[in-house]
Amino acid sequence: MSVVVDEPAVMDGGGTSRRRRGRALTAVALVLVFAVFPLVMSPFANLQVTLILVYAVAILGLDILVGWTGQVSLGQSAFFGIGAYGVAAGAVHGWPVWAGLLLGTAVAGVVGCLVAIPAARLRGYALGMITLTLPVVAVPLAKRMEVVTGGAQGLNVTIVQAPGWTGLAADQWRYYVVGIGAAIVFALAAALRRGRFGRAFDAIRVNEALATAQGVHVTRYKVLAFTLSSVYGGVAGVLYVVAVQFISPETLVLTLSISMLAGLAIGGLRSLLGCVLGAAFYVVVPNLTGSVSAGQSYLLYGVCLLVVMLLMPRGVAPALGHAVRRVANRRERAAASGE
């Protein structure tokens, strides 16, 4: 959750409760828009939004590691892939979706935990390089383990079909499934952040030595964060297969990890909204810039990335938060002077 430092209301009581009402109304409006969206928009638009939610979950996982505890990871795409292959391979072998989901996320979590335990001693670039190895090794591995992964061609599946009584098309149904799944994991993350886990993670991020002195079991929390991060990556992978019904080794590449990290920076660290905004940037901007040639689209994407970072170095979510607060303050001051 973005840490919002509430400036003291210009008027007592009236200001803050008005702001809370405003936020509640905005939330309700957003949920309504979200619920109605797929019923009125094209399958392509639905897929775009579904993908945004998918990547938002993966980026949230990354935020748990990078934003909450200050560790670094270039391996999120590997966990994404593990989750995706779990559900896809399961489906190919006739397993129900929830079994594949469990398998995928469990394997992702276990691998994450195994990596995290020795890696907890590492800092900065050493940790980055170790996590970088994950997707670099995973891609050729996936190509070779044909029995499980279908080799270089990947796996095509048909899962999560819309039940007849809903009258929804496949893409609409999957939109809702992914949306609800994402909402659940986001709510879980928000809850974690608020409690003692959040406080412990903050302490570790700010100063590990000090955190240890304060009695925080640093290694345990770092491993927990890493495991959570990889589980979220796995969940995102499962949701990905639900959305596009396909997985191949090319999805796990290092480039995806890097793009997720970029999305995290663009959205803003330690902000749930930021994760969604970062995912939106990743999904939408290449479409906008992908007009003429690959080279041109790549250049425009890179320039957009640079422009966003230059204008909003802390990310879009904090910048939006500032802007909204300024407008709210101005309105309160006007209301106060008006009375």
Partner: protein
């Protein structure tokens, strides 16, 4: 191909990785940032050299001109793009270099297209006999030699010149250096300029073998990062040795271990790097950071 040839080929690739890794170390020592775009900057420098060569400039002239141009452009990149991210949130700086990577990649594709291009070798064809009837190419030896020249030149610059001392002072403590009257900003630009120049050399050395393409330096960058991190992001000697190690292992693994195919080659040195880092997190030649509460 006998073992000696394999090892020397590995040292040659390793020398290219080392050259780019030294660029990474230069940037990290001066501005505390890891430049993920270092490889891509090398690529565009190499394309510029190719364009000059294509227009009739002799190879060494083209490479030299590209190196000088890179020095200038690298300095400008630090001044106008990177400067405001120094000393801030590390993730932001990393993502800016990623943005630079993507932009330069796109720019290269746009200007020169994606078709592979032949790049001339800076060294004469042929080579030295290596016993059992094989040859060790002049290119292989020349690349190793070029790295050694770079290492010696940088060492001389930093240890025996006033400019080098100024740079080391700024890299270690910018505020103190400012109080001594040193032009901190300009010295940081020098760090990036030198790095870009060194990177350009790396690109021109590897291009004849890998063929010039926008993604040419992608795996070189990965290896260079690994070598730099193994060297503690600090020590030139550690970085070079790590890079040579990586080059030789990669080459031998690709040839002698059957499970390892072309795309798996990169995994072997990386996995070894992981093992080393797990044992010694600060890198083989790095120093443990003393963190005070």
């Amino acid at each position: 191909m006998n073992l000696l040839q394999q090892v020397l080929d590995g040292l040659s690739s390793g020398s290219v990785y080392a050259t780019l890794a030294l660029a990474l170390v230069l940037v990290h020592r001066s501005t505390g940032i890891v430049n993920f775009a270092q490889g891509q900057m090398a690529v565009i420098s190499t394309y510029v050299a190719w364009t000059l060569y294509d227009a009739g400039v002799p190879v060494w002239g083209a490479i030299g001109a590209a190196i000088v141009l890179s020095l200038v452009v690298g300095a400008l990149v630090e001044r106008f793009l990177i400067r405001r991210f120094e000393g801030g949130e590390p993730l932001a700086a990393i993502v800016v270099t990623v943005g630079l990577l993507i932009s330069v990649n796109g720019l290269v594709s746009l200007i020169w297209g994606t078709v592979l291009k032949q790049f001339p070798s800076a060294f004469p064809p042929g080579g030295v006999g290596s016993g059992s009837g094989g040859t060790i190419g002049y290119g292989t030896l020349g690349t190793i030699g070029a790295l050694l020249v770079v290492v010696l030149a940088l060492n001389w610059l930093f240890r025996h010149t006033r400019l080098g001392l100024a740079f080391r002072a700024v890299a270690a403590n910018p505020e103190s250096s400012a109080l001594l009257g040193l032009p901190v900003g300009r010295l940081l630009m020098l760090g990036w300029g030198l790095a870009a120049a060194v990177g350009a050399l790396a690109g021109c050395l590897v291009a004849p073998k890998l063929y010039l393409a926008p993604e040419m330096m992608d795996s070189v960058l990965t290896y260079a990062l690994a070598a730099a991190v193994l060297g503690g992001l600090n020590s030139a000697l550690g970085t070079v040795l790590a890079a040579w190690f990586i080059g030789v292992v990669e080459n031998l693994a690709g040839t002698y271990v059957s499970f390892v195919g072309g795309d798996m080659k990169i995994a072997v040195p990386l996995v070894l790097m992981v093992l080393i880092l797990l044992l010694k997190p600060e890198g083989v030649f790095g120093h443990k950071e003393v963190r005070r509460v």
